[in-house]
Amino acid sequence: MQLDFHYYATYCAAFIAGYSHEESLDICYCAQFVDCCTRSFLAQIKAPLQAATTQSATELLDVNTDILGLQDITRIWASFHFLPGDLYAPVKALFKHYKNKYRLICAPDSDLVSRTVELAKGKDLHAAGVAMHVLADTWAHRNFAGTPSMVINNTGSYFFEIMPDGSERKIRFGHNPGAADDIENGKYTNTIYNVSETTIMNLGHGRAGHLPDYSFIRYKYMPAWDNYRECLKDNPAEYYKAFCQMVYAMRYLRGEEEAFETGRYDEGNVAPWETRIKEILTTRQTDSRADWKALGEELSGEEIPDFDETHYVEEYRNAPKGKHYLTFLGKFIIAALAQKSMVTNQIYKSGNRLAGVSVDYNKKGFGGMKDFKRLVKHIEGK
């Protein structure tokens, strides 16, 4: 998903869920900021680098794909963009390395989605924003894994778009990163075919280009892991579910729902805007921010400012020593560390080492990367 959904649609969902204009802005800012919080950004503001929630193209070019590098990539992409659907999924394969990769395939309505939403309960709005990003991406990024893997994330030439009239059109892919996707002629950009299992070209949905990020598109293809079975991806329908689930999740965070259960979507509260939302989701465009912004402003009667990545930087930089974590970005960083810590722990507990080692503080005390000391202090109220 892109800024149109993570920022403007999340604003709409938060407002429908009952948050005020200001609260909705904080939530949607954090939801979008997950796509901006790179190591380079954190280094510039002198924040803990382990709070990185994404990696820029430049960083990925530079990344080491040795064991530590791969674990770092997996922690970031599996925790925030490709939440694993079933860490204990049955697999026929004999070898554990394949099983571990297979079990990181992203899917919505998973146990980890519940844990993600529950982790944000009772926390600052920043945690809700992070959770909404993760939840929404489980719908867009399903069938791909947040770790470099050819055997999971590769796609072949069997790729067709289902047009609005029901006809099929073959999708053609090019590899020029500077080229814009041409939706009228069905020409899209994806990463280069590379036979290395661990190259970043095989990370996430790179081999399917930006198709999973466009709400309007319906397409079919053969996922590398699904034994030559055809997969139909209906983005408009799935994005609508994502929206309704966000509303339900945020009503739970506000205390208006007793529990968060997977498979439940708040279609009732969204019903008055259903036609309008489905119209936005099906419009053939690569960026629907103008439509979502108009809907959001109609809902609240307030202006939604454009997203500005640097908006809270000075506040963080100018905070007195030891008080950084009371700032907007400081709270986002705590939420990001908590989410990464939780997901890594769940992957580790399942016997899967692809995201690295997790040390349980409550059982063994502090051990591991010092960036997480801030999270420990925060939870202990120091």
Binding site: H97, N227, D360, G367, M369
Partner: protein, 177 residues
């Protein structure tokens, strides 16, 4: 990174450093060794792809291509084994092309980082210039086996040190409820 992997990284790093020092001291003999190692690496790489096919890629749509690729590399490794005494050409191509390409990529990255305002652009530029210089040195001293072996060995030492340093880095994530 698990303990066994850490120990392995340290041991293999030390072995590589020892070999590089041996190569610097006796370049004429090391030269033949390097040719042999280059051929052996191709064989190993081919074998790894075949194993990769058997353990993982056989489950993938279109995975057979991995098997063909592995068999091809394995075959190429056998061929290289028969001509490893002609190691000079292999090392020259490896050093010159490898460093020139790396240098070019470093410089492009540096320009991009500078444009984006990241301070790491200076390091990238220095690395880029260093790599290009090494490629130029290889071309200038194309007839000196000693210089080629020195450049190759220093590269090995650099990589081995990085491997050892990484083995000692803290990498666990802290989980707190």
């Amino acid at each position: 990174m698990g303990k066994i992997k850490r120990v392995w990284n340290v041991i293999s790093g030390i072995v590589v450093i020892l070999f590089a020092m041996f190569a610097i001291l006796i370049p004429e003999i090391a030269f033949i060794f390097i040719g042999f190692i280059a051929a052996a690496l191709l064989l190993i790489r081919g074998a790894r792809y075949i194993i990769y096919y058997l353990t993982m890629a056989q489950h993938m749509v279109g995975g057979k291509i991995i098997m063909f690729y592995g068999v091809f590399l394995f075959d190429l490794g056998f061929f290289a084994m028969t001509i490893f005494s002609e190691a000079k050409a292999v090392i020259l191509i490896y050093l010159t092309a490898g460093h020139a390409i790396s240098g070019g990529i470093d410089m492009i990255r540096s320009i991009r980082n500078r444009k984006d305002g990241y301070s790491s652009w200076r390091t990238d530029m220095i690395q880029g210039i260093g790599n290009i210089l090494i490629a130029v040195i290889c071309v200038i001293f194309v007839n000196s086996i000693d210089i080629l072996v020195y450049v190759y060995s220093l590269g090995l030492i650099y990589l081995a040190i990085i491997r050892i340093v990484r083995a000692f880095r803290r990498s666990a994530i802290v989980y707190i409820q």
